[in-house]
Symmetry: C2
Subunit: 223 residues, 2 copies
């Protein structure tokens, strides 16, 4: 019944427009009562984004299920963000319709902004736990979470603007790769030496960039 | 009259609570009519955040007034973010009261999230213009704008949680410094050499970290 309500709602939103469609119109088309609608959706806005609550729960479960002693935290939040992408990519037609609808209706944009903020907070809370006790832990957690969300959304929007015809995974992988290169970590040593105002860094080529940057930061006296 | 309305509103919000205060209560205390209230504020929520529209306009003007041929774009968006900090720091008592109020009222949190998003978009639009034509321009613009906003808010919240007693500028400077070190740029050369699987980077100590990282990325074959 939930799926039938979503299908009826979107048919009407596309045909008549979002503002012009009432909950009564939706339940009439779906052949159910008003109470059934509100059992599944607190408001008309919620039927536009029927899967975010489940996806947020999946994301939190995925982050909690990780191994906090061995997982690269930046890689883990990037993989968590990919759960959102997969939700969109499962149903390209619906996702593209919703993208167009959301662009036109300010109330839906506001709803989307608040959902995006909830994903960002879930990622930031995980990173704060993983970085706890290190210098600048909450700052680094908040900045990386925001960067992951911005990169994910940049990749997702590129795909939505292609009307769902391009490769969603590739678009988001490329975007998240930028964040991983900038912030990712792993335990491989680097040697940095300084003499007067010159810094020399020697590193194995397979050292994560994050680790190299950290070493350089401390060599530059900026960490 | 605008200031009197804000003062009356906050006195009532603190005394009675936000939900329990009506626009009629506010105008009665301020000694003006309802129409005067709505001339300044579209809704009760807007009186809680009376300065964001002005600050957003100031931010856009500041970004437009820059020299696009010589300014470091990351430094410029960090300085633009400092305009928001200054708005909060101008009136610590009011800012701390509002912070506490916003934490308690979901509608105000949603309003704040949407305002934050508008700042982020203003910064991203500027960076997209500055980076236009470079590889990954919109991605880099969106990620850096999100990182600047997250860092600014991390520093701002630290100060608000200290009840406005700490040094707001120092708190935000420290947070934005992390973003500038990670993403900042400037035209100072770095030499990177590779032999087998070892990378050697020689750099002047005053080289921006961004420039060093770029050189290492290309040496590591990951750029």
């Amino acid at each position: 019944m939930r799926d039938a309500l979503v299908a009826a709602a979107f048919r009407l939103f596309v045909e008549r427009g979002y503002e012009e469609t009432t909950v009564d119109d939706i339940v009439a088309l779906a052949g159910v009562g008003r109470r059934s609608f509100f059992r599944y959706f607190p408001s008309k806005e919620d039927v536009v984004f029927p899967d975010h609550e489940r996806c947020l729960a999946d994301m939190r479960a995925f982050l909690d299920a990780g191994d906090d002693t061995s997982d690269d935290p930046v890689l883990r939040v990037c993989d968590a963000a990919r759960l959102v992408l997969r939700m969109y990519a499962e149903n390209p037609t619906f996702s593209v319709q919703r993208y167009r609808l959301t662009k036109k209706v300010p109330g839906l944009r506001a709803y989307e902004v608040s959902v995006v903020r909830r994903y960002e907070r879930a990622l930031a809370e995980y990173l704060r736990r993983r970085f706890a006790g290190r210098p600048g832990d909450t700052l680094r957690a908040d900045v990386i979470a925001a960067a992951v969300v911005a990169a994910h959304n940049n990749g997702l929007r590129s795909w939505l603007r292609s009307d769902g015809k391009g490769d969603a995974e590739a678009s988001v992988d490329q975007a998240l790769g930028y964040v991983q290169r900038t912030f990712g970590e792993a335990p491989v040593p680097v040697v940095a030496q300084t003499a007067e105002d010159v810094v020399v860094v020697v590193s194995r080529r397979d050292t994560p960039l994050w680790r190299v940057v950290q070493e350089i930061e401390s060599a530059f006296g900026r960490a």
